[in-house]
């Protein structure tokens, strides 16, 4: 196991149906997913999915409905048991845990945010945020104090005594987020957390999550069906299609080197100028003196105006050391690459 990995999913296969073992044997014989489903009548939700998530990163799994992404995330806190494979979190296989250990694990190491919020409608916002702590057995004054702090952090100060049905969708999900963050557990699972929200609210929430993450440095396992959301939030992104992993990589890697046509189809609609960072496409020239330099984390969109007056500009890292250069040509070919590959 690598030093940095906190979650490791190994060869997860999940089959829904009456006799999953039978279907599993067929899969092992090398039959395709659709053949297995036709032959056994069982549904293969996940087929041999392996991935590892590093400590402190935002790992996004993107897939369309029916891709098995919601099934996948539920393996990490064992709301679902795999048909075969193992789930290792913090060095322990959670499938070996007894009921009591599993509860302790859920109460202390992992928290979850749900698509439709999963709030308790009969409780106030404050009591909802304190719910996880209550389950954990934290004393009332202590959990109220923690809940107050997190409600303020997510921007719901003043709503402590409201009930969930009095809130808007965005506010409800802030409650869901505060409830999960109040647990102060290392891993945060977010199952389509922003999918039920309006586009503008969704964008706000994404920004807030990124801001919080800068301070909190949690390990976030995020599920979405929105490719742009995946690209925006993810340090790394995994694409899931019909229960199988298609590609894992940093957002730029996926945009610049899509693994197959399925990925290309998603990449097509992405605003490449905003997503592709200069550092990912720059040249190696570190010595030629330059008049202007940009940070390597700048996007193509950011450097474009400079090319009105310069043929190329230097690229520097966060310590302001020169690490390369970038020309208008390089930017244009990066932005155009995808058209070039499919024509």
């Amino acid at each position: 196991m690598s030093e940095r990995a906190i979650i490791e999913l190994k060869n997860i296969t999940k089959i829904f149906g009456e006799s999953p073992e039978e279907a599993l044997q067929l899969l092992k014989k090398g039959l395709s997913k659709s053949d297995v489903q036709a032959q056994s009548g069982q549904v293969v939700a996940l087929n041999d999915v392996s991935l590892s998530v590093n400590r402190g990163e935002v790992f996004v799994v993107m897939g369309l409905s029916g891709s098995g992404k919601s099934t996948l995330i539920r393996h990490i806190n064992r709301l679902i048991d795999p048909t075969s494979g193992s789930v290792v979190v913090n060095g322990r296989d959670i499938l070996d845990m007894a009921v009591e250990d599993l509860r302790t694990y859920r109460r202390t190491e992992i928290a979850m945010v749900f698509q439709n919020f999963g709030l308790l409608p009969h409780r106030s916002v404050l009591e909802n945020v304190a719910y996880g702590l209550e389950i954990r057995g934290v004393s009332k004054p202590k959990r109220r104090k923690t809940a107050f702090e997190w409600i303020e952090t997510v921007g719901l100060k003043g709503y402590e005594n409201s009930r969930p049905h009095e809130l808007s969708g965005g506010q409800k999900q802030r409650v869901g987020l505060a409830r999960a963050l109040a647990m102060d557990s290392e891993v945060l699972l977010m199952d389509e957390a922003f999918s039920a929200l309006d586009p503008l609210i969704r964008s706000d929430m994404q920004e807030q999550l990124l801001d919080l993450q800068k301070k909190l440095k949690k390990t976030i396992f995020f599920i979405t069906h929105d490719f742009n959301e995946a690209i925006r939030l993810g340090d790394r992104v995994a694409l899931l299609n019909e229960g199988e992993l298609v590609q894992i990589g940093r957002p730029e890697e996926i945009i610049l080197q899509p693994a197959n046509q399925y990925v290309v189809d998603f990449v097509r609609d992405v605003n490449r100028a905003r997503v592709i960072k200069v550092g990912a496409i720059m040249g190696k020239d570190e010595t030629t003196p330059c008049e202007v330099a940009v940070d390597q984390s700048a996007s193509c969109e950011d450097v474009l105006p400079l090319f009105a007056t310069h043929d190329w500009v230097g690229v520097v890292n966060e310590k302001n050391e020169r690490v390369g250069s970038i020309s208008a040509k390089q930017v244009i070919s990066a932005l155009a690459r995808h058209q070039a590959t499919i024509s």
């Binding site: 109460r107 979850m112 919020f117 999963g118």
Partner: protein
């Protein structure tokens, strides 16, 4: 004619003799077992008869106000109860009310745990549901006979017959209410490491409460529907007046007592319904359905 395939007489004799044997040998045990029911019913009745009539009217009107936060229902309650008193049916109405309350309380004690257990086990649900169907559809006279034979005529068999008839809706609605609790809310409780007990008392029962209350409402109504039959075996109360009306061909007596039953039904129906509505609003019905 339908051909005789097997001789059923021995079976019937066996059932009748079996019941006789049970009454002879276990009659005392049954009576002792049902004694707490009698104590419950008698204490409720004694208490309600001890409290002055205007106090009962005042308390019920106050409860109606608390349930609706409006004046309409309390006024209806006061008028209906005054009418009952004017018709010289106060004591009978109290006896009927006591029977209904005792039956409802006993039903809650048995039906809630049964409904909860059913919501958790498909097997148990499969077994219990046909029994509930039987309890609701079997003409009550069919089980009145053995119950009276075992306990002798009086209040206890009347109470037991009422419970048998009134319990099924509460069991069903408790089971339904718990199973209707939003799946994601349950998943959230699970994800935060809630124990089965924490899930039951912290999530399932509170969220099922409006449905459970609808079940209690049904139970009170069905208990009232049984009062005439119950009075045949010694329950007394308004039902007895109806029976006497029939027996003596006194239309007025039957009509007045019948109206008294209707008055009680309206009062308890509206109050329990209003509480259910209040509860639903507090939870936020739209959220509940999501």
């Amino acid at each position: 004619m339908f051909p005789e395939i097997i001789e059923t007489r021995p079976i019937r004799i066996w059932i009748d003799d079996g019941l006789d044997w049970m009454v002879k040998n276990w009659g005392d045990a049954f009576e002792a077992g049902a004694y707490p029911l009698l104590v419950l019913l008698n204490s409720i009745q004694k208490f309600l008869l001890f409290v002055p009539w205007w106090m009962i009217i005042f308390v019920l009107a106050a409860v109606a106000f608390l349930a609706t936060r409006r004046w309409a229902l309390p006024i209806v309650v006061v008028v209906a109860l005054l009418l009952v008193g004017v018709m010289e049916l106060w004591e009978d109405a109290i006896k009927t009310m006591a029977l209904m309350i005792a039956a409802t309380l006993t039903t809650i004690i048995f039906a809630l745990p049964m409904g909860i257990a059913m919501s958790r086990s498909a097997l148990l649900r499969g077994i219990v549901r046909p029994i509930l169907d039987l309890m609701q559809t079997l003409p009550s006279f069919v089980y009145l006979i053995p119950v009276v034979m075992i306990f002798g005529p009086g209040k206890v068999p009347a109470l037991i017959a009422t419970i048998i008839y009134a319990a099924p809706p509460l069991v069903r609605l408790t089971d339904l209410g718990i199973r209707l609790v939003d799946r994601e809310t349950m998943e959230a409780a699970q994800a935060f490491g809630a124990t089965p007990r924490q899930k039951l008392f912290g999530v399932q029962i509170p969220l099922a409460l409006p449905t459970i209350l609808a079940g209690i409402n049904q139970t009170t109504m069905m208990a009232l529907a049984m009062v005439v039959i119950a009075s045949m075996i010694g329950a007394g109360g308004l039902g007895y007046q109806v029976l006497q009306g029939i027996g003596r061909l006194e239309v007025s007596r039957g009509l007045f007592a019948g109206l008294g039953i209707v008055a009680l039904a309206i009062i308890f129906d509206r109050i329990t319904q209003a509480f259910g509505k209040q509860l639903q609003e507090r939870i936020g019905l739209s959220e509940h359905k999501l």
